[in-house]
Amino acid sequence: MVNLQKKYQNGFEAVPGLDLHIDDGEFLVLVGPSGCGKSTVLRMVAGLEDITGGDLLIDDVRVNEMGPQQRDIAMVFQSYALYPNMTVGDNIAFAMKLRKTDKTEMAAKVAEVAELLELTAVLDRKPGQLSGGQRQRVAMGRAIVRNPKLFLMDEPLSNLDAKLRVQTRAEISKLQRRLGVTTMYVTHDQVEAMTMGDRVAVLRRGVLMQCASPAELYESPQNLFVAQFIGSPSMNVVRGNVSSADDHSITLSLGSQHVRIDGEARARLAGLGEYVGREIAIGIRSEALGGDGTASIDVVVDLVEMLGSALLVHSTIDAPAVRSIDTGVEISDKAESAVVASLDPRRQVSEGSRLTLTLDTLRMHAFDLETGDAIGRR
């Protein structure tokens, strides 16, 4: 996508200009909140929305004016219905029958797809004799058999129940890796995005906020929006102050508390040197609190949630919350904010008690309060 644009007749710019390259065989997930333009981008790639500016290239060929059929792409899961009187083989093959494919070629293709999907043993069975997972794989087979250059999936799991969603998510990922077909997947669910994509492109109001591997998005968000959109629980972000900085350390103030950052952490946040005496947004993920760390903050515990794998501790500190909003960055007018820490589940923590949480300064993040951009290495 080279400066790809979508502007509607009423003047609304859904996508002002998007540059994005997807490698052969890559699984790219487009994620963002409702109205961020992700489905519009997918529909432009599919040929369902007219492109009003820029270029869309598939295998270096400009396809802006081509219809959906000419682009050699497959929209997956247009329908989940399997036909009860047809065998698994017939369910996979019938679209080829419609295109009047040669019988020998059709049989070979069905055998190949069945092998890939581990359905060879059940090819002669009817859908009623299959398990839920096998039925999902047959539905996938209907799309795969077309052998497209690109799979497009628009929230394909949204109408499945929670259990089947997790199961199908894994099936799709596994299959995509086995097939190696370039895939573009749209979702509003950041867990789906993080668990499935080779890379994840985060969109907001039609603008690409960051495109990176799930680990990079999580560990090194380029801006406050990505930092707060990715991750569950969401990153704790509060207003802080850069009290002092020298070549060896930086001191940050979070409300009445002070945190000294030195060593490797100091190098990671070297850009803070230019912010001495100024306010910034400080971001701390829940798992950077209460584990290993060289610094600490004191909190009052409001609520404890036992998740089994972790203990979520909700507490309060005396610094206002900061969040990314459509028009920029918003600082709460309340002097206190909620902070969530993810602790070892064996720890004993009681509600209403005071608690000292260790802080892993290597995993702290800082953002400019005006632009929301990450402040990192100089």
Binding site: L48, G67, Y80
Partner: protein, 403 residues
């Protein structure tokens, strides 16, 4: 739990249903399973006054479908009447969507597996109805995303069928559709219909004479022909303005009305370009309703209007003077239509809608008159139709699966 009802006074009984329980566990009197392929639990519920279809699906999809079905109805498109939606049920991940059963509708499985439902040229009729529905949706900016026979119900419409969209889970409403959206919708429709028909064939349930692949592939041609007839731009010489009237008549014949005509001069004023803005289907049905108050399908209405025309000609010949159309229609309703319907025993009359019954009486009259070599009177025709046809016809008001 939250229940939203569209017309609470008409559907007050809904609040007494066990809305908090899984649909599969309901055991109300009059509950049945529903024909066809379903991704969700769907049940038919017959009450004393109304028959409902209840579907269980995730809250967000139920809300979305509720909104879309209401938008379809507001746009005057043929769909099932949406009654209510239930969301946020205790301990239930899914909500409920409640629609009113479309009486006298025929699911494709019962239609095509031949239950004594005689409809000539069935494959073509089905195709015309489905393509016509898709064109109407597209003209109104609706993208279906899963057009199939399973997601459609059909109603007899004189010798043709009319199609109703009943499942819009994948639908989207836009101001207008791009060519790409229309093409993809058509591609999905073709593939789904082929699947539906092949499945029936493999189950030994498809009536003879219908080729699944050829029937499905023909949807594209039928769709394109209708789309071009409705939206195509005509160009003609400046002195051929009669072509405007010609085009309007052609659109009316197809059952569509035109909200706006744009005439643009071209080539220095020697040529005119006509751009129609087709909005409404149901040209004949609306005329019939205005003249007689009768509700009918488009083809039934065309048929009944022709009969009114013939009746008017007889009146004029008898009196030797012009008869106003509204007067002729009022007398036709009383002396012909109501008279014929009243002569049918009530238990049998419920098998079909009144407009369809009258159409079939007219068909039967033509058939027995030709066989007798003379015009057969209406009373004799009705008696013969009831005895030889209607008494043996299946019940169609509500088609239930065999138990």
């Amino acid at each position: 739990m939250r229940l939203q009802l569209a017309h609470p006074t008409d559907h007050a009984s809904v609040v007494h249903w066990p809305l908090d329980e899984p649909l599969d566990d309901w055991s109300l009197p009059g509950m049945h399973r529903v024909f066809g392929l379903h991704r969700h639990v769907v049940r038919l519920l017959e009450t004393a006054d109304v028959t409902y279809v209840v579907k269980e699906l995730p809250d967000d999809l139920a809300e979305r479908e509720w909104r879309l079905l209401r938008a379809l109805a507001e746009a005057g498109l043929p769909t099932a009447e949406v009654v209510g939606v239930v969301t946020g049920r205790d301990d239930q991940a899914d909500g409920l969507l409640i629609t009113r059963h479309l009486d006298y509708s025929l699911p494709y499985r019962s239609l095509l597996s031949g239950r004594g439902l005689r409809i000539p040229y069935l494959g073509e009729r089905l195709l015309d109805a489905l393509s016509g529905l898709l064109v109407r949706l597209h003209l109104a900016g609706f993208y279906w995303g899963d057009c199939s026979l399973s997601n459609t119900l059909f109603r007899r419409d004189a010798s043709a069928l009319s199609a109703y969209i009943i499942d819009v889970e994948t639908g989207e409403h836009h101001d207008t559709l791009s060519d790409g959206q229309r093409r993809l919708d058509l591609m999905i429709a073709t593939e789904n219909v082929a699947g539906d028909l092949l499945d029936l064939q493999m189950g030994g349930l498809l009536a003879d004479g219908i080729d699944p692949v050829e029937t499905a592939l023909a949807i594209e041609t039928t769709y394109r022909n209708l789309w071009d007839a409705l939206t195509g731009i005509d160009e003609f010489n400046a002195d051929e303005t009669f072509r405007v009237d010609q085009r309007l008549r052609r659109l009316h014949d197809l059952g569509f009305d035109v909200s706006e005509l744009e005439l643009v001069s071209a080539e220095g004023g020697t040529r005119l370009r006509l751009v129609p803005r087709v909005v409404e289907h149901g040209f004949h049905a609306q005329r019939l309703r205005a003249l007689t108050g009768l509700s009918a399908g488009e083809n039934q209405a065309r048929r009944l209007l022709n009969d009114i025309g013939r009746f008017r000609a007889v009146l004029e010949k008898r009196s030797g003077k012009k008869v106003v159309e509204a007067v002729a229609a009022a007398r036709w309703l009383d002396e012909r239509f109501e008279h014929a319907i009243a002569a049918i025993p009530p238990a049998l009359a419920a098998k079909l809608e009144p407009a369809e019954l009258y159409h079939q009486v007219l068909e039967h009259r033509w058939y027995i008159s030709e066989r007798a070599g003379t015009d057969v009177g209406i009373d004799e025709t009705v008696a013969s139709y009831v005895r030889d046809v209607l008494a043996h016809a299946p019940e169609e008001q509500i088609v239930r699966p065999a138990t």
